[in-house]
Symmetry: C2
Subunit: 319 residues, 2 copies
Amino acid sequence: VSEQKLKPDELAKEVLGGNRRLLARALTHIENESDGSAELLNALYPKTGNAYVVGFTGSPGAGKSTLVDRVAMNLVRRGKKVAVLAVDPSSPFTGGAILGDRVRMSQASDESSIFIRSMASRGALGGLGPKTAEMIFALDAVGFDFILLETVGVGQGEVEVVRTCDTVVLVLVPGMGDSVQALKAGILEIADVFVINKADYDGADRLEKELLSMLGLRQNAVFDPPIVRTVAVENRGIDETVEAMEKHRAYASESGERETRRESFLRQAFNIELDSALRDAFDKTVDEKLMLKLEKDLLERKGDPRSLARSLVATLKLK
Amino acid sequence: VSEQKLKPDELAKEVLGGNRRLLARALTHIENESDGSAELLNALYPKTGNAYVVGFTGSPGAGKSTLVDRVAMNLVRRGKKVAVLAVDPSSPFTGGAILGDRVRMSQASDESSIFIRSMASRGALGGLGPKTAEMIFALDAVGFDFILLETVGVGQGEVEVVRTCDTVVLVLVPGMGDSVQALKAGILEIADVFVINKADYDGADRLEKELLSMLGLRQNAVFDPPIVRTVAVENRGIDETVEAMEKHRAYASESGERETRRESFLRQAFNIELDSALRDAFDKTVDEKLMLKLEKDLLERKGDPRSLARSLVATLKLK
C-alpha cells in the first residue's frame, strides 16, 4: 500500500516501529483531528506512560528555545531519546523564521535520537492547543525517554497544562524589567526547577536573592526547587540544569508526586475532551430556530448570556 | 430591610441607583455565581451597551497598572465616569501588596467618578476568569462611560477576551529583552493603539522603528494603529494616549467595526456559558458507576481521553 492510503492501525504500526516521517504526519492528523485520528490515538495510547515530560516556561525573550535545544542535545549525549514539542511563535508578522534551524533538525533521519515538533498555533493567536496532551501521548508511545514541552507559560490554559508535567522548569533572566514581583501569580508556585538564563547579565545575584527570599515564604514546601544559572547560548550550566531536573524527578518518584501529577494530566485531558464531545453532541441536536431566537435576544440585550445558555440547555432532555 | 437580606432585584435597583458599596458586593456575587446572581444579572443586562470598553494588555513589568491609573484620572478630568477592572496579581508569594493604593481608591464615595475593581484570580493561577464578561455587563449597566480592562494578555483565554474589547491598547517598553519579534504571536495583530511606556529608557526609537516596520507588513490593514510614547509615572503622554483611543473609537464606530466586536464579545460570553451549562447538566445526569469505570480505564491507559469522552457522551440521549 502507498503511504498516502495507510489505515490508522497501519500508520500506528509504522510509527511505533520508528518511522519518523510518518510520526510527523501522525502528529498532524492528531492535531487536526482528521479522519482516523481517533483510531490512531486508540492504538497508541496503551503504549504510553514511560516518557518523562518536562515543561519549560517563562516570559518571551528569556531564551527558552535555546535552553531547551541545549538540554535536548545534552540528554542525547547521555544516550536518551528526546522529543521537543514547542509552541510555534510564527505569525503574519514574525513569519516564524526563528524556527528555521529547528525545522532542519526535525527532518533528521529515523536513527536520530532527537525529534522536534512545532505546534501550530490555534488561529492567529498562538497558545497551547487542546491537542497538546494527545501529541504528548503519541510521542510517549513511540518511545521517547524525554519530552520537552516549551511554552510561553503566562496564560491560564498554558499554566494548567504545564503544571501537570512531571517536572516544571521556569526560565528567568536578570534585569528584564520583570522582577520576581512582576511575574504572573501562580508561575512561581508551579516551578520545580528555576533557571536563571543569561546569568552573565547584570542582576543575576539580585534575581537569585529575590527568588530565595520568595521561596522562603512558601508554606508547607516539601521540595526545595534548585536554582541553576545558565548561559544557554554558550552551553554553560546545561549539565547542572539536567541534574536539577533529575533531582526533582527522583523526589517526585519517591514521594508519589509523579503519580499524582500524571493522574491530573490525564483527568485534565479527559475533561477537555468531555467538554468538546458535549458541545459537538449539542450542536447536532439543537433546534436551529430556537438558537437564532436566543441569539437575537442576546444581541438586542434582552437576555444575558448566562440565562440564555441555561434556558437553552434546560430544553434538552439529557438522560 | 437590612442590606444583608436584599433580594436580587432590590440589589439591582440599589446598584443602578448609584450605590457603590453595593456595586462591589454585586460584583462579588456575580464573580462567585452565588445564589441570586443570575436574577441580578438578568435585571442589569438590559441596561448594558453604553460603556466604552478598552482592553490594556502587555507583558508583566510594562507598567500597565500605572498607565491605566493615569488614563483613568485623565478621563475623569474630562468629566467621564470610569471603571477599572484589573486582574489581581496577588499570590501566596507576592501578597498582592501592589494593589494597596488601588484598594484605597476603590473605597471612594458614591459621588466619585472612578471605581476600581480587582478580579480575584481563579485558583492560585491568575488569569481572566470566565466571569469577566458578566462583571463588564454590571459596570456597563450602572452607567460608567469607560471600562478599562487591565490584563497580562499573553495567554490564549485572555487574548480572546481582550480582542473583543471596543479598543485594544498594547503596552510595550523599550529594551526589556522582548523585542517586537519575541512578542507572543497574535498580540500585535489585535492592538488598535500601541503605547511605548517608559519611553525615556534607551531603545524607544528602535522599538518604534521595529513596530512601524512590522505594521508595514500587514496585509489589508484598514486602520493605522497610532503609536504613542508615554512615561506614565511622570504623567507624560497620557493626553496623547486618550486621543489615540478616541481616534480608534471614531474609526470603529464609523466603519461598523464596533458593532462587529460587540457581537463577538456577546457570542463569546454566550459560548462560555453554554459550555458550562452543558457540563453542569451532564454532571447531574451522568451514571456515576460508568464514570468511575471510564476513569479507571483512563488511568490504566486502556482508553485514551478522547475516545472515552466520546463513548461516554454517546451513552447520553440528547434531544
